[in-house]
């Protein structure tokens, strides 16, 4: 069942700026961003390093708060949320996939997923989550016993195990070779399609934009352009 992509925004940024002191200078990472992640869409945030895309992802994921402007999750204003409120937002609604997987080395694949499903009210069966990413056979392996691609797929299973509304991926293929990277993107694609999870993938790799419903390009802390992709291609046919 293909997910329905609507234009209902699930996460919305309005005139968001973010500046922070870096030593003696103030870095203006975001300089007024208006942008929304829509229900069920697969979105690629494209930008070179230093463009502000990581800052944007941190704000979207409730790891950071904007200096000015507004951040809305559905009809909740998160612009001035406390650290405690942001934790609850992440806990209930957001799944993360990181460039370096960030699995807990002392836990097996299954346990890494349980780590999240245990605290989610309507969590998925961890085995099902791992099955979805094609790791049904590797449940009891420790991270050190798996390849990078496998580890990243465990991370995806972990991210979706809480059935999040939003899945945020930070350079998910950044540490992987092309072939493995395709497998990982495929897993993300399937999650987006089958579960209808709104997905934002941050990357500096323009080729990945081919799998997205929309590609948002960021440069110098601003949205440079937003392109609609009428016919996304399956990740298997992407090359870089």
């Amino acid at each position: 069942m293909p997910a329905v992509t609507t234009s209902t925004p699930i996460l919305r940024l309005q005139q968001v700026t973010k500046s922070y002191p870096m030593g003696e200078v103030v870095v203006h990472a975001l300089r007024g961003v208006d942008f929304a992640l829509h229900q069920g869409e697969c979105l690629v945030l494209l930008g070179p390093s230093g463009s502000g895309k990581s800052t944007l992802l941190n704000i979207l994921g409730g790891l950071d708060v904007p200096t000015s402007g507004e951040l809305w999750f559905q009809d909740h204003d998160l612009s001035a949320a406390s650290s405690r409120e942001l934790t609850e937002f992440r806990r209930q609604h957001v799944g993360f996939v990181f460039q370096f997987y960030n699995l807990i080395p002392s836990l097996t694949a299954l346990e890494n997923v349980q780590l999240v499903s245990e605290i989610a009210p309507q969590g998925m069966d961890p085995r099902e989550a791992l099955e979805r990413v094609g790791l049904a056979e590797r449940l009891h392996h420790f991270p050190a016993q798996m390849s990078g691609g496998e580890q990243q797929r465990v991370a995806i299973a972990r991210a979706i195990a809480k059935r999040p509304e939003v899945l945020l991926c930070d350079e998910p293929t950044g540490a992987l070779d092309v072939q493995t990277g395709r497998l990982v993107l495929n897993a993300l694609n399937e999650v987006n399609r089958d579960l209808g999870t709104s997905t934002a993938i941050i990357t500096h790799n323009a080729a990945i934009g081919a799998m997205a419903d929309r590609v948002v390009s960021i440069a110098d802390g601003r949205i440079a352009k937003i392109e609609e992709n009428a016919s996304p291609v399956p990740p298997g046919s992407i090359d870089w």
Binding site: S54, L63, R91, F96, N102, L107, Q114, L115, I119
Partner: protein, 790 residues
């Protein structure tokens, strides 16, 4: 100019300041305790040896009834004897101005002219008594000060049954009475008991000892055979009521001082080593971690052309700086502790001078040992930096391998929560770290018990001695043995409600090669005022048909109930007898032997007599009783039970309390340092995991529970283990030679409150270290942690 690498040393010290300070504090405790105790020992030893030498403290002592002075050539002729000193020494009752209680003193003769050849007095104030002036006395300094006497004050006394007014002409100290306790007492009571010195002629007349002596002191040649001299003296004095010659080490004051030094020495070695061992372990874990995180720095340094040696030296300097910091703090702490303890000792051990003296080598010895311990702890980590090839160091370390813990593999733990599972696997991956953390914290816990238990034991001993065992209000001793008829006189003294007679005689027990001279006390079998307790702490009546011995005396003689024991009466007929050991009782002070009063009399072949009594007294008439006693020449002394209790209690509260709090805080420093480092290392090693969990939506409380989990487990194991170890160490300590002596024993008692204080103190130090880490969780930069590859 500071080299760049040295600047890095300073930066690292600053960056790791929390851990550096914690480790330095442990080193400071170790070095401080060592310097404090060893300098106290050194000060006491120096004061003792110069005092013993300057005042010509004798090597051998003997007491006897009465011997003629013409024995001197025979004593002089014993091989190895250099100097013979004969004296007159007797106990006297004092009528102390403004005091209800009767005091007592030992009256010691000095030669009619000049100074004593042995056991010389050190004149502190005034002058020596003049020849021919029998009323002039020197008094011991502590006694003089306790009463606020002035020179020329009068001191009324009862000497050999007659009232005499002494006049204080000088104040003195003697090596013989460095520690002054009344016979049979453990603690000095300077208001009630003192030493008086008077010219010999007057004393001889007063005690009917003209041309005779009742006390002997000898100085031996360096190569003298002590045992042979003692035996020869005993043979010569035997017909004159000799009570057995004994060497200097058994002389009461010398014994207490030596025993104190032995105890100090035991602590001065073991406790610092404990602290330095813990410091070594802490340095080990901190440096393992430091070097693991600085692999790439090390690689870069080596790539630039720094030699292995220089890189290793760089880290060694860091260790050295921590040791130096801790040692300097320890020197200051040790100097303070040492001078405080030395001046505390000066109140109980009276030396002409007891200056605080530091053995100039000991600070360096402490520094050296601390350095060795630190080197031992960090050698492996530093060797790793030296051995690391630059290319290898550039690569990240191999991924950590984990497995299910043994408990899980065995299927014993079905559903361990995930957080706890990570904690258990961490522990299983580095079991030694956990074991050593547990060891450190349990040592600290044990230390709290070890340091505090002696107060419990002494309190318990007081309860038993003065609450359960001695049930009289006052005890009087008679100048001479009297017939039972005198008991009615005693019962008629003011306020006396009940009186129980006793008769104590000096005897010499002989069992195989063991010979022991003690006093054998005849007790009224129906008496209630001296309760005897068996080794299971049950009250038992005095056994009929033989001897009741105290445990220590039975041990010394090597006898058990049912054995037959020979003894010789050292007075009167000096007859030899034998009796069966009927039972063993537990006592804490001295060596005791008892018999039913009538059995003792019939054994000695004399009618029932007494030379003392235990009394119950109407408290409102205590003052008139004292007044009457002072006026009754047949009574030699009177001792009030409550006074002894109050005295010891006061001493405990004043000194032990402070000592216990100081050592408790040392133990807590140790626990804090171990726990703080454990948690900081966990935080450092697992910060990426913990930050990931925070990003995934774990609440701060949940993440800190995992962080505290390891510490919690350590505490969970270490506190009960430490309490048990404290129990074991303490019970071993009370049985050690310094605590289980013929003069006194400590019962082994630890009150629940002591366990509770120890456990709560350790928990509190865990809480403090946890709070420090908790604050850090707050400052966690989740974003930063996620960007970097571990």
């Amino acid at each position: 100019m500071l080299r760049t690498l040295d600047i890095k040393v300073w930066r690292e010290l600053l960056r790791l300041r929390g851990q550096v300070v914690a480790i330095a504090m442990v080193i400071a405790c170790g070095v401080g305790v060592y310097l404090g105790l060893s300098s106290t020992m050194h000060s006491l030893q120096r004061a003792r040896s110069s005092n013993y030498a300057e005042q010509r403290f004798a090597h051998v002592f003997a007491e006897l009834e009465r011997a003629p002075l013409h024995l001197i050539p025979r004593l002089q002729a014993i091989e190895g004897v250099q100097v013979v000193q004969t004296r007159i020494v007797r106990g006297v009752t004092l009528e102390l101005p403004g005091m209800v209680e009767a005091g007592s003193a030992r009256l010691v003769s000095i030669p009619e002219r000049g100074r004593p050849e042995l056991n010389d007095v050190k004149l502190r104030l005034g002058r020596m008594p003049q020849p021919g002036h029998s009323e002039e006395v020197l008094v011991s300094e502590a006694f003089f000060e306790a009463h606020g006497f002035r020179l020329d004050d009068e001191l009324p006394a009862i000497v050999n049954g007659s009232r005499v007014a002494f006049r204080i002409v000088g104040v003195a100290l003697s090596p013989e009475f460095t520690y002054t306790v009344a016979p049979g007492q453990l603690f000095p009571d300077d208001r009630l008991h003192g030493i008086l010195w008077a010219r010999r002629k007057g004393l001889a007349a007063a005690f009917d000892l003209e041309g005779a002596f009742n006390n002997l002191a000898l100085r031996l040649a360096p190569q003298a055979h002590e045992a042979a001299v003692l035996a020869a003296v005993d043979r010569i004095l035997e017909p004159y009521g000799g009570r057995g010659a004994y060497p200097r080490r058994d002389q009461v004051s010398a014994f207490f001082l030596e025993n104190e030094l032995t105890q100090l020495q035991g602590f001065a070695v073991t406790i610092p080593l404990l602290f330095l061992g813990v410091a070594a372990f802490l340095l080990h874990i901190v440096f393992q971690r430091l070097i693991a995180t600085q692999r790439s720095d090390i690689a870069a340094l080596k790539a630039f052309g720094y030699h292995d040696r220089e890189v290793g030296w760089h880290y060694a300097k860091l260790v050295g700086a921590i040791v130096w910091l801790g040692s300097v703090a320890g020197w200051l702490l040790g100097g303070y502790l040492g001078s405080a303890m030395t001046s505390l000792y000066a109140d109980y051990y009276r030396f002409p001078e007891l200056p605080f003296q530091l053995d100039p080598l000991s600070p360096f010895l402490a520094l050296g040992v601390a350095g060795l311990a630190a080197g031992w702890g960090t050698a492996r980590a530093i060797r790793q930096t030296v051995g690391l090839a630059p290319a290898e160091a550039m690569r990240p370390p191999a991924p950590l391998r984990y497995r299910r813990t043994l408990l899980e593999r065995l299927g014993w733990v079905q559903k361990v929560p995930i957080g706890l599972r990570t904690v258990l696997r961490e522990i299983e991956r580095k079991p030694w770290r956990a074991v050593l953390s547990v060891a450190g914290v349990s040592m600290a816990t044990a230390l709290t018990i070890l340091m505090a238990f002696s107060a419990d034991s002494i309190r318990y001993m007081l309860q038993v001695q003065f609450g359960l065992s001695q049930r009289e209000d006052v005890q009087i001793s008679l100048l001479q043995t009297r017939s039972q008829a005198v008991l009615s006189e005693i019962r008629n003294l003011p306020g006396v409600q009940h009186a129980e007679p006793y008769r104590s005689v000096p005897v010499e027990f002989r069992a195989g090669a063991s010979v022991k001279r003690v006093s054998l006390t005849g007790l009224d079998p129906a008496g209630e005022l001296l309760a005897l307790y068996n080794t299971s702490e049950e009250r038992i009546p005095i056994a009929r048909g033989g001897l009741t011995l105290s445990r220590k005396l039975a041990e010394v003689l090597g006898v058990r109930p049912g054995d037959s024991l020979a003894f010789r009466w050292l007075e009167g007929a000096r007859s030899t007898h034998s009796a069966t050991v009927a039972q063993i009782v537990d006592t804490y002070v001295g060596l005791s032997a008892y018999m039913p009063l009538d059995e003792l009399a019939s054994t000695l072949g004399e009618p029932p007599t007494l030379n003392g009594a235990r009394l119950l007294v109407d408290p409102s008439e205590l003052a008139s009783l004292y007044a009457e006693v002072k006026a009754t020449p047949m009574i030699a002394g009177i001792a009030e039970r409550d006074r002894s209790l109050r005295l010891v209690q006061g001493m405990l509260d004043e000194n032990m309390g402070t000592m216990i709090w100081i050592s408790l805080s040392f133990a807590l420093v140790m626990a804090f340092a171990v726990l703080y480092n454990t948690i900081r290392i966990t935080l450092a090693e697992r910060s990426r995991e913990l930050a990931t969990m925070r990003v995934l939506g774990y609440r701060r409380r949940e993440v800190s529970a995992i962080l505290m989990g390891e510490m919690g487990l350590v505490l969970l194991v270490a506190i009960p283990l430490g309490l048990w170890m404290g129990h074991v160490f303490s019970s071993a300590l009370v049985r050690s030679p310094g605590y289980d002596t013929e003069q006194f024993r400590l019962p082994f008692v630890i009150y629940p409150s002591t366990y509770a204080i120890g456990a709560l103190g350790i928990l509190a130090s865990g809480l403090v270290s946890g709070l420090g880490a908790w604050r850090r969780l707050d400052r966690f930069d989740m974003v930063e942690v996620l960007k970097s590859r571990d």
